[in-house]
Subunit: 322 residues, 2 copies
């Protein structure tokens, strides 16, 4: 971000009055915190705004200041000429129903994000691919605008920073992440309370899914391959997408395991395979053998075959690389 | 800590040559990281040292620089005149076998700790009850001694800070915790790797215990009380003490649950009851009704009765407070 951008941002905010704040589908802590921090910023400037999301946000985020103002697209009839999208790497991430609310008359589309893949779909694009979270991009933006933060903004910015870094555990965590966290704490936020509400809270269905999936835990004879079969006990598609992915971390966590697998039965009788490795196996090669893809340490594929056949094929393939 | 203390510390280190570094029984990340940071400090000053612990440290800590030099008391024959104990709130925390290695001739006992309950058992006591970890006390001490840190010391200091704050989630996390984390990252440490090895690693027995305990998960009709029965599948007593306690966080994590319980069958046919609450129930009162104790949000008791009777009694008592 350069000086021109921050001036352009401020000029645009000042010149307009009705804002639509958009966060991404299946909203997580970073997109929610970013949207609410921007909302508080606009509120302080006496601007009107609507906060929209394709989906309903999870209950555990409702304690965040202004979170009660999130609405779904069916609830609004107005058309907006000014949009701020946060944490959306491309325009599809705003969701189909939200898209229908965007009139052709939009004159200003501000795109604030931290994804390296962001394709600059806005009329003003404030992107920092080095930032651990979009809330960090917003923190820097507001600081450069000489805008004094407050408790409400700090809670929301911290939420995005905490969730997108896995509470300062992921590889995107830098010394800057910690320096900003220190500054935000100085606004009086309670990090224990925020972490407890967001990171330590599961719906009963989530916990039942963890329980049922763990019950299927298996480890091969070598102790290097471990897997679970995900038993879905929930009808919410958003739940499935957001939470099933993390289950593979249970077999992955076992000391000595190199490759962890999750087998997830889909509704159309296919098996979705999630693969994780720790040190030396390139799981993208294993996924590629079944027309899947991914990275060295995290990959996946979908196979149309009965579960027992899929298990055998995948484990055989992994064994070649162990 | 005052200037006199840091000078006394440095003078004492300089005046002696053979150090015994002691960490507490059932060692955790803070006591291990503290011991190893002190070891590196002494190594840089060309001092001789032995690092001792009552128990064998867990495999997942063995990547820490100098961790391979931890030994158990049976492995040493020397007697020491200079001792540095880290993260031990009282002398009993060093362990019985370690105690036998302390000769009457000890002329210097340096006690470095952050527990508010520390009883100043040392001849030199460097205690900061406001520090989130003992490694933070050591960080401040070394800084005040104008001692330049290095990568090896930073990894160990970060390990204690990360583990004792639950990766910056617990209530002891302050802006200072984050500021120091930022400084330590600048020494080139890989926070993802450290967190992955320590926080995201379970022994197969630990994971089986999680699995078997979750299989017993129950929630009462109101959705406000949830419990698990801990099925021990492991003979290591240290494992039991360190890891079973955290299992109560699974039922506690359920949205809407106010009181979570873990029922653990002990070897002598008693039931050890762990209690956690979220917002308003004072679980210390429930524990007190069964001659137990604790705090408002975390308490426990032990009852000599069959499991089904204990469950009924405890849940009945909780129901009075819900």
């Amino acid at each position: 971000m350069n000086n021109c951008q921050q001036n352009e941002f401020l000029d645009n905010i000042r010149a307009n009055d009705n804002f639509l704040i958009i966060s991404h589908v299946n909203p997580d802590g970073d997109t929610i915190g970013s949207a609410l921090a921007i909302a508080h910023f606009l509120k302080r400037l006496n601007k009107k705004f609507v906060i929209i999301n394709e989906h309903v946000i999870a209950n555990k985020y409702l304690f965040l200041p202004l979170a009660d103002q999130f609405i779904t697209p069916d609830k609004i009839s107005e058309r907006f000429d000014t949009v701020i999208a946060v944490d959306c790497a491309d325009i599809k991430r705003i969701g189909e129903k939200v898209s229908t609310k965007l009139a052709d008359t939009i004159k200003l589309f501000i795109n604030i994000d931290h994804h390296p893949t962001n394709d600059f779909y806005g009329t003003l694009n404030i992107i920092d691919a080095n930032a651990a979270s979009t809330t960090l991009v917003i923190y820097n933006l507001l600081k450069q605008c000489d805008f004094e933060l407050d408790y409400q903004i700090a809670v929301n910015l911290y939420t995005g920073l905490m969730t997108d870094t896995g509470s300062f555990k992921y590889g995107n965590t830098t010394s800057q992440s910690h320096l900003v966290a220190a500054k935000l704490i100085d606004y009086g936020i309670n990090v224990y309370d925020i972490a407890d509400r967001i990171l330590e809270t599961n719906s009963i269905n989530q916990l039942k899914t963890i329980r049922d999936s763990l019950a299927t835990l298996e480890v091969d004879e070598t102790g290097k391959i471990a897997w679970i079969t995900v038993v879905l006990d929930c009808n919410h598609e958003s739940f499935v997408e957001n939470d099933v992915e993390g289950l593979v971390n249970y077999p992955r966590s076992i000391e000595g395991v190199e490759v962890a697998i999750s087998f997830k039965l889909t509704n159309d009788n296919k098996v979705k395979v999630g693969l994780r490795s720790k040190k030396y196996v390139d799981v993208s090669k294993i996924a590629a053998a079944f027309d899947g893809g991914g990275h060295k340490r995290a990959a996946g594929c979908t196979i149309a075959a009965p579960l027992n056949i899929v298990k055998e094929k995948i484990i055989d393939e992994i064994t070649k690389h162990i």
